[in-house]
Amino acid sequence: MIRYTAGRLASLILSLIAASIVIFAVIEVIPGDPASFMLGVNAREDTLAALRDQMGLNDPLPVRYLNWVTGLLTGDLGTSWTYKTPVADLVADRIWVSLPLAIYALTLSTLIAFPAGIIAASRRGGPADVTIMGATQLGVAIPNFWFAMILVLIFAINLRWFSAGGFPGWEDPALALKSLTLPAIALALPQAAILARVMRSSLLDMLGEDFIRTARAKGLSRRQALWRHAVRNALIPVLTIIGLQFSFLLAGGIIIEQVFFLPGLGRLIFQSISARDLIVVESVVMLLVFTVIVVNFAVDLAYAAVDPRLRRRA
């Protein structure tokens, strides 16, 4: 287990270094001058030069890369050019929207997908299976932003149960959770559809395995065999998908955050890219990459916990 963990850890660090170089290089080559974006069309040349100097844009690229990475290592994400506040503060505010939203959506999608997948697999070909698979087909096909608009139309505009968007802050947790509910549902349903399908096919694979037949031969009912042996084994591909989905939900809520005007990380990145606030984009993207890599690392460790063979093999 130690060798396995160490191996995973080494690949984690290498991925982070590679990612930092790629992110910096890619973002710095985007055309557009942050200073002229801030000052607009009437700015004079001397004003632009003064601002560029203030923003440290006159340093050569390698120097700026090193400054950035050393900053990151000491926990300093830099200071936003446009907001003029530390990036860490910006992220700290936003993460309290994006992280709870991702967890909320993931919980919802798991709560829906697991029972749906298991029922569909255990009643393969039956009406329940057909219905669930039909519904997931639809769930995968519907874009989440469109679904979000429909939710707003029904629950915010017509029924007035929820507000159409915005985030009131965590001072009142019930209100905060309420404001995240529609976005979480909009994010969760398409994910649940994918997860349910993976759960079903993975379970069906397991149900055809020899060890299930052995379990049945030893006298377990079909249902007992499914719950005691098949589900646990079917979880490996499902965990992979959950890991990927969590990363997606954390970083990929951009459109949903726009639709519900939530002050989340996705919206921060979006605003920063259009304002060419490169330092914010770089640091936030790096932070997300870090999170994704760490989540994958955790998923790798979870595999090992679920499947003892992986521990020995590595």
Binding site: P31, M149, F261
Partner: protein, 491 residues
Amino acid sequence: MTFLTRLTAVSAFALMATTATAQTDITVAIQLEPPNLDPTGGAAQAIDSVLYSNVFEGLTRFMADGSVVPGLAESWDISEDGLTYTFALRSGVTFHDGTAMDAEDVKFSLDRARAEDSTNAQKGLFADIAEVTVIDPQTVEVTLSQQNGSFLFNMAWGDAVIVAPESIETIASNPVGTGAFTFTDWVQGDRLELTRNDAYWGDAPALETATFRFISDPTAAFAAVMAEDVDVFVGFPAPENLPQFEADPRFQVLVGNTEGETILSTNNQMPPFDNVLVREAVALAIDRQAIIDGAMFGYGTPIGTHFAPHNPDYVDLLGNSPHDPDRARELLAEAGFADGFTTTLKLPPPSYARRGGEIIAAQLREVGIEAEITNLEWAQWLEEVFKAKDFGLTIVSHTEPMDIGIYANPDYYFQYDNIVFQAVMEKLNATTDPAMRSELMAAAQTIISEDYVNGYLFQLAVPTVAQAGLNGLWTDQPTAAVDLTGVSWSE
């Protein structure tokens, strides 16, 4: 504001059984969030939308109709030669941190804006100031290096507001001004809150608190207004939904003018646009009404020159460029382009440009001009079009008030170089007599219209959707501002 808080507010009033029943809070939505809160350090209009007149004031100020009236300066004297302005400041004005606003603050603000390391986006406004002298705490004297007929107008801009040296360090996140509202909180990405300033020198506003929210997505904007999450949306991004609000008794729709001349900007140095016949052909190929109807759902006023139609000095020059594709083809043939030509049409993100661009490309194709459309982000547009001047045509709304002076700068991105026009502008800058100024402004408008410098399309309209009970909102936008000082709810 949520329904719940309004309910509590209303019931609290009912319980107290006070005589005042009108609501005193407001939630205002605008499209873009200010990047920071320093109106003297960036061009973002959203900064002024939130802070102009509410938090910060200048020596003079714009009213809703675009007129310039005294602000922190109660009155002024202009010397015979027009070079010295002596401002008498209002007495008893304090900043929100309690410090007094006096002549030293005015000197500090103006000197800071025109300093060498200044990052003021409109530094040009201060270019003619030679010296600022403090006479006494209530009197400040500004000496100009040359006459400037727009000086009082310039001092009304959001970029010329009076700030204090005591609070300048943190102005970007904690703006301290002299206005009727105090900045209280900014949850970045979500909302910004203002509270009534009880020590305000002028009339106390009717509102006690104001919350600004930032919603750029058109669908989200529609939902927020419909669900009554916001009380007013200034600059509503989806004109196609306005009829629905007009038909709903819960709402009022105000369609106002802006200072935004929306033009088909033309690279005057790039062949074939260096030929005036070609530029005239382009102007005649354009059907303005089709663009206003198709791209702006009917909102917008056609213009024939680079000047706001609501300005008293506007000259109607639409007759110079009627929609006449046949004549346009003739002109192209005369210029040696009987078979037409191919050019680029680079479009920034706003819908007037993206939607308008498709329509203009189709209209140009009618007369044989192939315009290849490229969509650009603002940052790319600034780099490629504005700075590198690598474009044939582009569509942009010039939103600065009274900006016809850009035609006198041959280095400006559309590169119009006309000595006659430059002389007119120079004379205008040095003229303070109103009648003479009107005459010069008319001459300037006529020159650029007859030279077909750019395709003049329409004056950008600004739609505001508000709850029916709100009064005192600005309809027009003579400068980017959501002035809440005169806003109140009907009882």
